[in-house]
């Protein structure tokens, strides 16, 4: 035997269901409310009867109900998942989610509308927090963009202001050199030193600017074309051969297809990688450089002999300002490989490294077309 007769059972299900029920007559006035909803709101049944649903909502909800929900209910015969706020007898807010469906007879005449109300205090609070945090994020993003713009300007100005005095020093050294005023070997060596330092300083400024752009701004920007890449690579190698006449750089270039890339950036990448190999590789062994196009990819590699890169250092190799064991003041800022990595990224490519006692090899791979 069940505890209730079937009729009582349905009545109990209606009255004490874990959700609020109410029915609205065809005239838009509330006809029935269950015990759960009266308990949640603290509003007696007879206070509901004959009134309109929106009268029990907060003002914002009333406007919304009248302008959105009621029309929708009439147009599609139901609504689902609306967030509403009831105002309780105690003047508090009861946050709910509501569904409703119209019941019509065979002729399509509206009989009544059934509304289900589910208490959703926590969920609504959570949703509100999501909305709030999204708003905060958007504000933050706008500020970030503004700052990034300022940064770009700052970087441009900084680059300009750092290069100008350097250009003046370089020009001064050139004038002294041409004038023939300096004859003594000692003085000429000072001139050479000035020139070398200017070049190094200029490289450092380039690195800093690239880093600042890539890391702080919108990433390294490319100006791609598909003109022959090989002359650029050869020029880079020649420059480095001139700069380190005592070292051997071997090249194998097999570029059978055009590479759509920013050639200046690829040249910079190669220059950094070779510079790295010259600094860290065994001085009595050649640095081997190769480039080829194969199966839709462009590959560029630089290999050197010498001490392998320690396993611990491998992981952080492409991080900015990583300098490994600083043995040599010529090593610079530790931005070279980071910039290579960024150039690779910007080309939709990758930069890999393997290091064994026999050989350390950096390999840059990118698709021939973006």
């Amino acid at each position: 035997m069940s505890e209730f007769e079937p009729r009582d059972e349905y009545r109990d299900l209606f009255e004490n269901a874990p959700c609020g029920y109410l029915t609205i007559g065809s005239d838009g006035r509330i006809t029935k409310v269950n015990a759960t909803l009266t308990a949640w709101t603290g509003i007696e049944k007879d206070k509901f009867a004959g009134r309109r649903l929106h009268q029990f909502l907060n003002i914002a909800g009333r406007i919304y109900y009248e302008t959105h929900i009621a029309p929708l209910l009439r147009m599609q015969g139901f609504f689902n998942e609306f967030a509403l706020d009831f105002e309780t007898a105690a003047g508090e807010r009861l946050a709910v989610i509501a569904n409703a469906a119209e019941r019509r007879d065979g002729d399509g005449t509206l009989l009544f509308t059934a509304v289900v109300v589910i208490k959703a205090t926590d969920r609504r609070r959570y949703e509100r927090q999501l909305v709030d945090s999204r708003t905060e994020l958007q504000k933050g993003l706008a500020t970030e963009r503004e700052t990034a713009k300022l940064r770009e300007q700052f970087i441009a100005v900084l680059g300009h202001d750092l290069r100008n005095p350097l250009a003046a020093i370089s020009a001064g050294a050139r004038i002294l050199q041409r004038s023939g005023a300096l004859q003594e070997h000692k003085h000429l060596r000072v001139l050479d030193m000035i020139n070398t330092t200017v070049t190094r300083m200029s490289d450092l400024i380039d690195h800093i600017l690239d880093f600042a752009r890539g890391r702080l701004g919108g990433g390294i920007t490319l100006s791609r074309d598909a003109k022959p890449l090989e002359p650029v690579l050869e020029q880079v190698v020649d420059e480095l051969r001139t700069a380190s006449p005592q070292r051997v750089i071997e090249t194998t270039f097999e570029l059978t297809e055009r590479v759509n890339c920013d050639r200046t950036r690829i040249g910079q990448l190669l220059s950094n990688l070779i510079g790295n190999a010259l600094t860290h590789g065994a001085a009595d062994q050649p640095v081997r450089v190769g480039a080829k196009t194969d199966s839709g990819k462009f590959k560029l590699w630089v290999a050197n002999a010498g001490e392998p890169i320690p396993a611990a250092a491998m992981e952080r190799l492409f991080e900015p300002f990583f300098r490994g064991d600083v043995r040599d003041s010529r090593q610079g800022l530790g931005l070279g490989l980071h910039i290579c990595w960024q150039i690779a990224q910007a080309h939709g490519g990758r930069l890999d490294v393997t290091s064994t006692p026999d050989e350390t090899r950096f390999v840059f791979t990118m698709p021939l077309v973006p």
Binding site: D27, R52, A60, Y64, E127, R128
Partner: protein
């Protein structure tokens, strides 16, 4: 600029006179689905969506232009000019009552008669004037809109906007009549509920009828009477219908009131 695509303009019916239906804040031209067909026998019936609503071109939404009701009124004038309407009947619901009124001041020759359904020139109380809401309540409304995005998500937007007439989209289309980009909905709510057009009422030169419901919490009877007293020569009809949307809840009464006037 393709005005008809921008505003999702639909023209139907036959007749020398045109009747233009403008929807209010909340939904779209579907608000007239029980009223407009009743005029197709003897009127050229024009329906459209305000930019930002329904099937309008959302890419045409311009924050600055639509930050005042004049932006919407300019569109109404453009639509009516594009369709070469003259002496048309303009029926504006809710905020479109004010939009139509502004449009009629810009180009009175386009308008023969105006019917304003549930108009309010200002929703926020001001001294002796009772608009029905406090400023704080309107701010709350703007926040409340965020709680009901009507299932809007950017990913779904193209399918909703591109295929308003494809019922096979079924579930996805639920709530679509009243669904739009939440940011636009919020901006439209702001311009609707913070506008003050009380001074514009006296400028109206087109014969005007006000349809006033009872128990309309958005635009009360007092507000309807205020509009009637300020628009020169206007008339007011009190409907038996209750609420803010008689075009949906009591279409027959609305149709006969409009017919009696035009």
């Amino acid at each position: 600029m393709d005005v008809e695509a921008r505003n999702n303009v639909h023209v139907s019916g036959r007749g020398d006179r045109a009747i233009v239906f403008a929807h209010g804040f909340g939904c779209d031209q579907n608000m007239w689905r029980f009223v407009a067909p009743e005029f197709e026998g003897d009127f050229k019936v024009v329906l459209f969506d305000h930019v930002g609503a329904g099937g309008s071109d959302l890419s045409a939404y311009n924050k600055d232009k639509y930050s005042t009701l004049h932006g919407y009124a300019d569109d109404v004038v453009e639509i009516m000019r594009e369709l070469r309407l003259k002496d048309a009947v303009f029926v504006g619901h809710s905020v479109s009552a004010m939009i139509g009124l502004l449009a009629s001041s810009k180009a009175p020759e386009l308008f023969g008669r105006m019917v304003l359904v549930g108009p309010s020139p200002r929703y926020i109380d001001d001294g002796d004037y009772v608009g029905g809401f406090s400023e704080k309540q309107i701010v709350e409304l703007l926040e409340f809109l965020e709680d009901n995005h009507m299932g809007w998500s950017v990913a779904m937007a193209p399918s909703i906007m591109g295929n308003p007439d494809r019922p096979e989209l079924g579930e996805e289309l639920t709530n679509s009549f009243c669904r739009t980009d939440p940011e636009i909905a919020k901006a439209f709510a702001r311009v609707t509920f913070t506008s003050d057009n009380r001074d514009d009422l006296a400028e109206v030169t087109v014969p005007t009828l006000i349809l006033q419901c009872s128990e309309d919490i958005i635009a009360s009877e007092e507000v309807g009477k205020f509009v009637r007293s300020r628009i020169p020569g206007s008339e007011i009809v009190f409907l038996k219908a209750t609420g803010h949307c008689p075009n949906l809840s009591a279409p027959a009464e609305v149709v006969s009131a409009i017919r009696a006037y035009v």
